[in-house]
């Protein structure tokens, strides 16, 4: 078993965990964490296949995509946190509720 | 086996021992202040031994300088964070006590 196979299988599991978290978690912060975990799974998939395609160095295109992706994920997480905190300030709600 | 490898192995084993001691301390000690002690002292010593071992093994002056700086920064960061966390916790407990009394 190669290194990249372990990590690519892990990436699928992480993505599914994040997806489940987005559906099932109640609190805003947990939902945000779940989306970041989902993103982490996708990045892990990219980088593991970059390692498979290595010649003299690992495939640089997925690495570059993942670096930009991480920073974009951080920007979107900051936006999501701002939204969540604003909602909490205005309504006092910590999660999406139906009864209102 | 070369002599530098033997030295590196000895230093790494000692470092691992201190890491284990630090982790056990974090798990077993009763309150935050003694846990801080275990973590920031024992672990830094362990890191120092591992850093020394790797500096001996890699045996390049530039890398040794970098490793030394890594250890120095870790010492600085963890000693100050030990102080800051302890002070923070003490203030929290004091304000809690004041509230319970008043």
């Amino acid at each position: 078993m190669e290194i990249y196979q372990i990590y690519s299988l892990t990436s699928a599991i992480l993505f599914v965990i994040g997806l489940g978290g987005v559906f099932a978690a109640r609190h805003f912060i947990k939902k945000i964490i779940a989306t970041i975990i989902m993103g982490g799974g996708v990045f892990l998939c990219f980088v593991s296949f970059a390692q498979r395609d290595a010649l003299t160095f690992a495939d640089p295109v997925p690495h570059a995509l993942v670096i930009t992706g991480i920073v974009v994920a951080v920007a979107s997480a900051a936006f999501a946190l701002a939204l969540a905190r604003r909602i909490y300030q205005l309504t006092g709600e910590e999660s999406f509720t139906n009864d209102k | 086996m070369m002599i530098k490898e033997v030295i590196a192995i000895i230093l790494l084993v000692v470092g691992c021992f201190f890491f284990l001691a630090g982790t056990i301390g974090v798990l077993r000690f009763p309150d935050l202040f003694s846990r801080l002690h275990a973590l920031t002292k024992a672990d830094n010593l362990g890191l120092g031994f591992i850093a020394a071992g790797m500096a001996v093994y890699i045996a390049s002056p530039l890398a040794a300088l970098k490793i030394f700086f890594i250890w120095l920064f870790t010492l600085l960061a963890s000693s100050t964070s030990c102080y800051l966390i302890a002070r923070f916790q003490k203030e929290q407990e004091q304000s809690k006590n004041r509230k319970e009394q008043g």
Binding site: I3, I13, A25, F28, R85 | -
Partner: protein, 328 residues
């Protein structure tokens, strides 16, 4: 034999991800998430992606950590009494819902299991195409830098990188839109602790120098604009904690200039060479190294400014709350 490390790391990562979502208390889940970030950084080291590992270490240990701590303070209950009320309410809620939500939960678990199987099969059977390694390798001498990842980021796929700086700026604008733009005026509680002031004074130049080192070394090894940007952004956050919010004493026009510098210069350069007859973001190989260094520096400054502004805005957001409640 070395596969042992990978298996352990993979199990650790999956466990941390699962527990950070399943943990009952919010602070548990946030700190488990930090640990997940560190495990991910180690995984990238194992996969040979050192650039990604530096970025992830900077983001997970620094920026996201501070953002989440800040948010955690907002959401954690103010009083023990309030907390008790909250837990009782939550208990009653969960008891009520446990019956009515049984079917959706079963469906969710089944769907996720099915999806997991599909994803595992898909990942297992991704065909070997060879990737773009060979193309990058042949074009590397023309790019002006020696490190393939930097070459891809700032030369071959410069369009992506340019848009990506724009996305960070967009994130800042979105945070402004949510939190309000008249933010930077209030003074912040200064660091009253002499030791903390010294630590901030010590780590500011260290962060700056190390960021500059990463920026420069990006030409020939792992490092580059994003890593340097995050490290320089950490300077802004540290100064903010030390009672010197950067945007309160920098004049407003300079702040805006710093924020847009990278984006504008990148675009200007692209159009300049397009006017000279090349494609968008195509540099002449003779000057490419120098141009890439300049672009990277400006991009790092812009990223640092944007991250600092995002943090300052988010940190100030909750400060309005006690005033709001007092007015009510």
């Amino acid at each position: 034999m070395s596969i042992l490390i990978d298996i352990l790391l993979a199990i650790l990562g999956v466990y941390l991800a699962m527990q950070s979502l399943l943990a009952s208390r919010l602070s548990q889940s946030v700190f488990l998430f930090f640990a997940f970030g560190l495990a991910l950084a180690l995984a990238w080291v194992r996969l040979g992606a050192v650039d990604v590992a530096i970025t992830e270490a900077a983001i997970a240990a620094g920026f996201l950590g501070v953002l989440f701590l800040d948010a955690l303070r907002d959401f954690s209950p103010r009083d023990t009494e309030e907390q008790q009320n909250l837990t009782t309410v939550q208990n009653s809620l969960s008891r009520k819902e446990s019956k009515s939500l049984l079917l959706p939960r079963l469906a969710l678990v089944l769907g996720l299991g099915l999806f997991l199987l599909i994803a595992l099969e898909a990942v297992w059977k991704i065909p070997e195409g060879g990737g773009l390694t060979a193309a990058a390798e042949t074009l590397l001498p023309e790019s002006g830098v020696e490190h393939p990842v930097t070459a891809v980021l700032l030369n071959f796929r410069a369009y992506d990188t340019w848009l990506e700086i724009g996305v960070i700026l967009l994130g800042l604008l979105a945070v402004f839109a949510v939190g309000g733009i008249q933010i930077y005026r209030k003074p912040i509680a200064a660091a009253d602790d002499p030791l903390m002031r010294q630590v901030i004074l010590f780590f500011t130049p260290v962060l700056f120098l190390f960021g500059a080192f990463l920026l420069y070394i990006g030409k020939s090894g792992p490092g580059g604009a994003f890593q340097a940007g995050v490290l320089w952004g950490a300077i802004g956050i540290l100064l903010h904690f030390g009672g010197i919010p950067v945007y309160s004493w920098v004049p407003r026009w300079l702040g805006h200039l710093l924020l847009t510098l990278g984006l504008v210069f990148f675009l200007l350069l692209g159009f300049l060479f397009m006017a000279a007859g090349d494609n968008l973001f195509e540099y002449p190989p003779a000057y490419a190294g120098l141009l890439i260094l300049i672009v990277e520096t400006l991009a790092a400054i812009s990223i640092a400014a944007a991250l600092t502004a995002i943090f300052a805005n988010l940190n100030q957001m909750k400060k309005e709350q006690p005033n709001d409640t007092a007015q009510k």
